[in-house]
């Protein structure tokens, strides 16, 4: 029932906004649909806390502590982004960059994108998970090219082709998974693609086929996580699309794709009885982290800068899950939450900063604290948080990941530390001149909604100082499920 609500509200919102999306109150409708989704997901969380893991609808849906926390996170960030985009898109419209028709497309596709991600998270069927991931790509392609500029069309095309090819590989991996499972679980209608069934027999799955399936699934879904060397679409899509879209791509879609990878890893671990899947995740993770941190130095566009920072952080999280074990998994989950909240907050602030100065080029953004102190503070604090400064929550998770790496894989520690240091230098040296200094830019025509920025950063700060025991217990349970 709760699942129906969680998926139903965004779908309903998408349908409704496809009709009324060009009206003046469209943004309010979008906020209302997102709020309803958030409340429904809260109900779902309550139910899982009370009754434990559940399946629904002939086991087509499956909720356990691992995905329910991602559902809650997705609904929360989806809601705050809807709140943020209300004034943001109005300012864009009054700058003449958007027409009512495009706004309708934006609002409707935004809700459809939410529905696709929530479906990918809640479904128990690996085939449907693929369909939902593809749906998430399709619904965002036209959002990336919303401004119809040369750059945005190029970015969207790249995103479409690269993610389309990636997701095709994942489909092949899914077909191989089905091959491996068919003998054990029966064919058509017998649930050979249901994750819970696969999980129950994972020890008997044919290891060679599972190994091959995992390679395809990892590369396929990994493209959407933004893992190097298939990360090329990510900075372009983030920089050229509207800021709310950058925020949800970075904060949510990457998480959902990583979730798909982890689900596959759990099965492959069971079938292979070896550390190979973990080592592959660690390799891809380290490579992405290192590569992204060096690319950070070359960026001039503020949104590209933070897009590369997303690649870096997804790399760290992938590395953590690759190490496996209770502490690294716990840290990985925590870092997923922290990154998603912090990065979307940064994109909110950066979006308004670019509106204030009329450019995304960092050398032209100056004096944010003078003209709009709350945007300046939001960007500064968000930047410090994402760089892993204590007392923010990112510090906690990065610290846990580092000490686990020191204990289990000492060779990886210097690489991680180097990447973190390089990233720190790159982002901090860009951030400072943007926030301080003088400017003659004009104030914004509508009051920006900066509450989401400070709510997100507030949660991140709280998690750094004190993780409520209930939440910690929840993470522990989820970490246990991932195992490794």
């Amino acid at each position: 029932m709760e699942i129906l609500l969680v998926l139903g509200f965004p779908l309903l919102g998408a349908a409704l906004l496809a009709i009324v999306g060009a009206r003046r109150y469209a943004a309010e409708v979008s906020v209302a649909a997102s709020l309803a989704t958030l409340l429904a997901s809260a109900l779902l969380v309550l139910r899982i806390i009370r009754h434990g893991p559940m399946t629904a609808w002939n086991e087509e849906f499956f909720i356990d502590p691992f995905n329910v926390f991602l559902v809650a996170l997705t609904a929360l960030v989806g809601f705050t982004t809807a709140v943020f985009s209300r004034p943001y898109m109005r300012i864009e419209a009054s700058h003449g960059r958007l027409t009512p028709g495009r706004l309708r497309l934006y609002h409707s596709m935004y809700q459809l994108f939410m529905a696709a991600m929530l479906l990918a998270l809640t479904t128990n069927n690996m085939g449907f998970m693929w369909v939902a991931m593809e749906m998430a790509t399709l619904s965002t392609v036209l959002l990336v090219s919303l401004y119809r500029t040369r750059g945005s069309i190029e970015a969207a095309w790249k995103y479409f082709i690269l993610c389309g090819v990636g997701i095709a590989l994942a489909l092949f991996g899914t077909a191989l998974l089905y091959t491996a499972a068919e003998d054990l679980l029966g064919g058509e209608g017998m649930g050979a693609l249901l994750w819970t069934h696969l999980d129950a027999v994972k020890g008997q799955l044919e290891p060679r086929v599972m190994g091959m399936a995992f390679v395809f699934l990892l590369v396929g879904y990994g493209t959407k996580v933004g893992l190097a060397p298939l990360h090329n679409w990510l900075p372009d899509a983030h920089a050229e699309g509207p800021t709310p879209v950058s925020a949800v791509l970075s904060g949510l879609l990457l998480n959902v794709a990583l979730y798909a990878v982890i689900r596959c890893k759990i099965l492959t671990d069971g079938a292979l009885h070896s550390a190979l899947p973990g080592h592959m995740l660690m390799g891809f993770g380290l490579l992405s982290t290192l590569l992204a941190s060096f690319f950070l130095w070359r960026q001039r566009d503020i949104k590209r800068l933070f897009a590369y920072s997303s690649i870096e952080h997804m790399g760290i999280i992938t590395f953590a899950f690759g190490m496996g074990g209770p502490i690294a998994n716990f840290a990985g989950l925590l870092h997923m939450t922290m990154h998603s909240l912090t990065k979307s907050a940064i994109f909110f602030a950066a979006g308004h900063a670019t509106q204030l100065s009329g450019t995304q080029r960092m050398d032209r953004i100056r004096g944010l604290l003078t003209i709009h102190p709350s945007v300046g503070w939001g960007l500064m604090l968000g930047g410090l948080a994402i760089l892993g400064m204590p007392p923010f929550g990112v510090f906690t998770s990065e610290y846990l990941i580092l000490i686990t790496a020191m204990r289990d894989h000492p060779w990886a520690t210097p690489v991680l530390l180097l990447a973190l240091a390089v990233a720190f230098g790159a982002i901090f040296s860009r951030l400072q001149p943007m926030v301080y200094g003088d400017t003659d830019d004009q104030p914004l025509p509508h009051t920006p909604a900066l509450v989401p920025v400070f709510v997100h950063l507030g949660i991140v700060l709280m998690m750094g100082v004190y993780i409520p025991p209930a939440l910690a217990e929840w993470y522990r349970l989820a970490a246990q499920l991932i195992g490794g």
């Binding site: 069927n125 085939g127 449907f128 693929w130 369909v131 593809e134 749906m135 399709l138 392609v141 036209l142 090219s145 119809r148 500029t149 040369r150 750059g151 069309i153 190029e154 970015a155 969207a156 095309w157 790249k158 479409f160 082709i161 389309g164 090819v165 095709a168 489909l171 092949f172 899914t174 077909a175 191989l176 089905y178 091959t179 491996a180 068919e182 003998d183 064919g187 058509e188 209608g189 050979a192 693609l193 044919e206 060679r208 086929v209 190994g211 091959m212 372009d236 920089a239 050229e240 690319f295 070359r298 001039r300």
Partner: protein
Amino acid sequence: MPPVNLSTQVVQMLAGALLLISFAMLAERRSRRLLILLIWQGVVLVASTVIVAASAGLTHLYFSAALTLLLKVCVLPLVLFRLMRKLGIERDNEPLVNVPTLMLVGLGLVIFAFGLAQPASALATTVLRKTLGIAIAVILLSFLMILARRKAFTQVIGFLSLENGLFFAATTTTYGMPMVVELGMALDLLVAVFIFGIFFFHIREQFDSLDLDQLESLKED
């Protein structure tokens, strides 16, 4: 190992045809002929699915064959033909300078594909396990086509041929995915092609051609 009967032989022949069509696509310059090749690929796919369905006695495969016929032989080519006419690119000639190299790389990919298919085809339960290598080869050749071509339209054809290869892989290893999943995949494909169509117009509006060489502004420095 099952006895090699007539239907298996026919399907293996069709698989060979699929591979040949992929190579032909790799070397084809004209958009119109490319699209016709894509339709042939769809026809071969439908034929092989029907034969597999008949020999294995699986009703759900008939449905998936019908779905393929409707989508890949009728609807999508129709949409693409109309797009081609509207965009006026029917006679477009794409210069291909390195066909021999492309062919050699393609051959290498086929060998690689058969090597890759070894473990999985040893396990596949169907009578068609020998064809998995070909399916992977078709997938890889489509990749090559997407990478080597610089026209938006050709890349989309490559994308659809990739999808055909995947479908063939799914039928050869497992007698197809569950029906609901296949329906979902078909829907996604349909939406994808419509979005591609929208894109063609956007690209042309902004760049005055469908040449992707002009889409090179987003680079690192």
